[in-house]
């Protein structure tokens, strides 16, 4: 039981059948890898199953009952997600296949001869700013963009405590900067970045700003209008939704100004052999048959999260992370990479164990205790290089986790030390 009033973790766990699963050898499952991908409640799975079985048709184009049922459900999902992140307009919600596609979609809008808007022009001399704590999905698209256009990629460093180092902000974000794209919450450090100082500077110099909110939207109430940035990317599978669905939110006016990304059916207004005109947003960016049932599943996920309450979820995770930040450092040789206090950080803790490779830590935890953590560089290799370590072990918490599971992790780590000691 959590102390957060009205929040009953045992009741929540019942919605996730896999949490009752017995792994081979009779191990119970202790799932501490939600930062990688979350589990799905029965409500989401059943919504998808019901739709696939009884109501499925292609969206947008069909005039029959099934087509209409799918279209209504798909567009309702868009409404739900728009409301969930406080989008001023539902048309600002673009469905993609994952957060990576959303980030690439924006990157491909720059320096693209198909577009004409000044803000998206890019060439040698122009600058793109990211940070050293980014996920590869918020690094590689910008590297490729820089390679295509000759622009320069620059980045915020990270402090020893695992915070964004904004000391050089004025110089880093300057008149040459066209776009700043950083993580709202780090998938390794847990750090929640403070957006407003960077945004203020971006505005000063006329740069656009994007947030990779893949790790924040699942864990706290995010209001894109309040954040004030231009683009926000997130992904369904980390927020109790299905695989195959991601979201780009963007200011309508910018989405309108951007060139199309993927071309094809549904993103057009009219097509001739030699030219085309494009549909209004969001459809302009949704070429071909979209992930229909996946969007509907994400709608159900948002319903689920709303029913539990995002503030409750955040409070619950804060409790868990505070508990873990107390318990873990008692293990000899354990070093936490990232903030060691439960302030401005989420429920993700990465650490090293002296003399034992994270691969071995993770595998023993799984083999012996059924504890699922992630090990490696978590798609953030530059951050690991910054800390001079090849890899870490990461435990990440979500609404269905308990302090008992953290106890199990601590016990497991002691055992790991015995095996490799």
């Amino acid at each position: 039981m959590s102390a957060v009033s009205g929040f009953d973790v045992e009741r929540i766990r019942k919605d996730f059948p896999v949490l009752t699963r017995e792994l081979p050898g009779g191990r119970p499952l202790v799932y501490l890898d939600s930062g990688n991908s979350s589990q799905k409640p029965a409500q989401v799975v059943e919504t998808m199953r019901d739709h696939l079985t009884w109501h499925y048709g292609n969206v947008g184009r069909a005039l029959h009952v099934l087509g209409s049922e799918s279209t209504v459900a798909y567009e309702e999902a868009r409404d739900k997600i728009a409301a969930f992140v406080g989008a001023p307009s539902r048309d600002e919600i673009v469905f993609t296949k994952n957060a990576s596609e959303a980030l690439n979609l924006v990157a491909y809008a720059f320096g693209n001869p198909v577009g004409e808007d000044e803000r998206f022009r890019m060439g040698p001399g122009d600058e793109i700013v990211i940070s050293e704590m980014e996920h590869h999905s918020n690094i590689v698209p910008w590297q490729l963009l820089a390679q295509r256009t000759g622009a320069t990629l620059r980045w915020f460093p990270v402090t020893d405590e695992g915070r964004l180092d904004v000391e050089g902000l004025e110089e880093l974000v300057n008149e040459r900067t066209k776009i700043v794209s950083i993580a709202h919450q780090s998938n390794v450090l847990g750090t929640v970045n403070s957006v407003s100082p960077i945004l203020a500077r971006a505005r000063e110099v006329g740069a656009l700003m994007m947030l990779d909110a893949s790790q924040s939207v699942p864990h706290q109430a995010v209001d894109v209008a309040e954040l004030g940035v231009d683009f926000v990317a997130f992904t369904g599978h980390k927020m109790v939704g299905p695989s195959g669905i991601g979201v780009l939110w963007g200011r309508r006016e910018l989405l309108d100004a951007m060139p199309p990304f993927l071309g094809g059916g549904e993103m057009i207004e009219a097509v001739w052999m030699d030219h085309s005109t494009y549909a209004p947003v969001p459809h302009k960016f949704e070429a071909g048959t979209p992930p229909i049932v996946e969007a509907i599943g994400l709608g159900a996920a948002v319903d689920y999260l709303n029913a539990v309450g995002m503030d409750q979820i955040k409070a619950h995770e804060k409790e868990l992370v505070a508990y873990a930040l107390e318990a873990l450092p008692e293990i000899p040789g354990l070093r936490i990479i990232g903030p060691r206090t439960p302030i401005a950080r989420g429920g993700t803790i990465s650490f090293t164990l002296e003399g034992i490779h994270p691969h071995d830590v993770g595998q023993i935890l799984d083999d012996v205790y059924g504890i699922a953590v992630r090990v490696g560089h978590h798609c953030a290799r530059p951050l690991h290089l910054r800390f001079g370590i090849p890899a870490t072990t990461r435990a990440s918490f979500y609404l269905y986790n308990t302090t008992a599971e953290i106890d199990a992790l601590v016990r497991g780590l002691h055992h790991v030390q015995k095996v490799f000691g």
């Binding site: 005039l63 279209t71 209504v72 567009e75």
Partner: protein, 140 residues
């Protein structure tokens, strides 16, 4: 979806044909399905809509919508008819989730079923958007 009233208007369109005098003429096309409409408005000095005349081709929904528009707009005022256009647009773009205001819409409420089919919404709106456009030009 095919309310009797829609079929009635399709088979016996009201006020069809382009007439003189007029203040503005517009030509709108729906590229998705090839529907076309030419529409003229004549407005009196006091803001009274004297005539809405039109000609075009397309599916029954787009044709009937033009006919219903003619009936509702002709004889009303610019302001009144614009509020009907607004309510009609809201209904059409509501994806079947909007409760129509029958008092405002009159016969046009028969189109409520169209709202669930995005591909048809543009058909229903063609004449109404053309009308709004024509009014703006007549006053601009």
């Amino acid at each position: 979806m095919y309310q009797e009233l829609i079929l009635e208007h399709y088979k016996h369109p009201q006020g069809r044909g382009l007439r003189e005098p007029f203040d503005a003429e517009v030509h709108h096309v729906n590229p998705t399905c090839g529907d076309e409409l030419t529409l003229r408005v004549k407005v009196a000095d006091g803001g009274k809509v004297l005539d809405v005349s039109y000609d075009g081709q397309g599916c029954s929904i787009s044709q009937a919508a033009a006919s219903v528009l003619h009936e509702l707009a002709t004889g009303s005022t610019v302001d009144e008819s614009l509020s009907v256009v607004e309510e009609f647009t809201r209904l059409m773009q509501g994806r079947g989730q909007v409760e129509p205001d029958e008092d405002v819409l009159g016969d046009a409420v028969a189109f409520a079923g169209v709202a669930k089919f995005p591909a048809r919404v543009k058909c229903a709106l063609l004449a109404w958007m053309a009308y709004k456009d024509a009014l703006m030009r007549s006053q601009g």
